[in-house]
Amino acid sequence: MQLHDLVDAVTGEEPPMARTADDIIASGRRAERRRRAGFASAGAAGLVLVAVAGAFALPT
């Protein structure tokens, strides 16, 4: 028996895919949006931190 035949035999009765390429792309878009929102939040938080630190550091 060849390895190809063995793997094909073992994986022969595979169930149909529950997800399609469109499902993957839709989930990927959502993941990308979340990633961008995360970067934007982190950037905004960084700016606030710099502003607060600057306000405290400046001599009154």
Partner: protein, 177 residues
């Protein structure tokens, strides 16, 4: 993502999903876990599509790691007894299910990492360098993982009186010896 990139990604997903799921299934031994591993890997690939040089290797690495990780999760190890419908006994005159189970058992006797190494190298046809990249190890380690995996697979198949053959296998065995 631009329309042409998305089209390329869609074609990639369509062409690779089945073989990725086989790799994950052979590694973790469960179709549902395998599909989860593949879907999660492809979803993570989507935002990085343009940045990755070899998306095929990148996604194989992620699928392999996810399949290994999934087998380690405590809730994946738990098996409830009693909530599943009992299996209906169906005659199998051709004996194909019986043979599949024997082959599956022989494959399960090989450690998961070695199993993945053998499938990557000899079923999916990756080079040793690419196999090492997916397994995140040196070429020498990948070579030994493939060699040990084949030896273990041959041993467990010999118990079922099945001989693993093939030109590639013989070339590989003589090269390692």
């Amino acid at each position: 993502m631009k329309a042409e990139d998305e089209q390329a990604f869609r074609e990639f997903v369509t062409s690779e999903m089945a073989s990725l799921r086989k790799l994950a299934y052979v590694t973790c031994g469960n179709w549902h876990t395998a599909e989860d591993a593949v879907a999660n890997a492809l979803i993570k690939l989507y935002p990085r599509w343009r940045k990755v040089d070899r998306p095929d290797l990148y996604v194989k690495t992620m699928v392999y790691r996810a399949a290994i990780d999934e087998t380690r999760r405590p809730w994946r190890r738990e098996r409830s007894a009693g909530d599943a419908m009992p299996d209906v006994v169906v005659r199998d005159p051709a004996g194909s299910t019986d043979e599949r189970m024997r082959l599956r058992a022989a494959l399960d006797a090989v450690p998961a990492r070695q199993r993945a190494a053998v499938v990557l190298r000899h079923y999916l046809g990756l080079s040793l360098e690419d196999t090492a990249g997916v397994l995140d190890c040196t070429v020498g380690t990948a070579k030994s993982q493939v060699s040990r995996g084949l030896a273990k697979l041959r041993e467990s198949l010999a118990g079922e009186r099945i001989d693993l053959t093939g030109k590639q296998m013989e070339e590989w065995t003589s090269a390692v010896a």
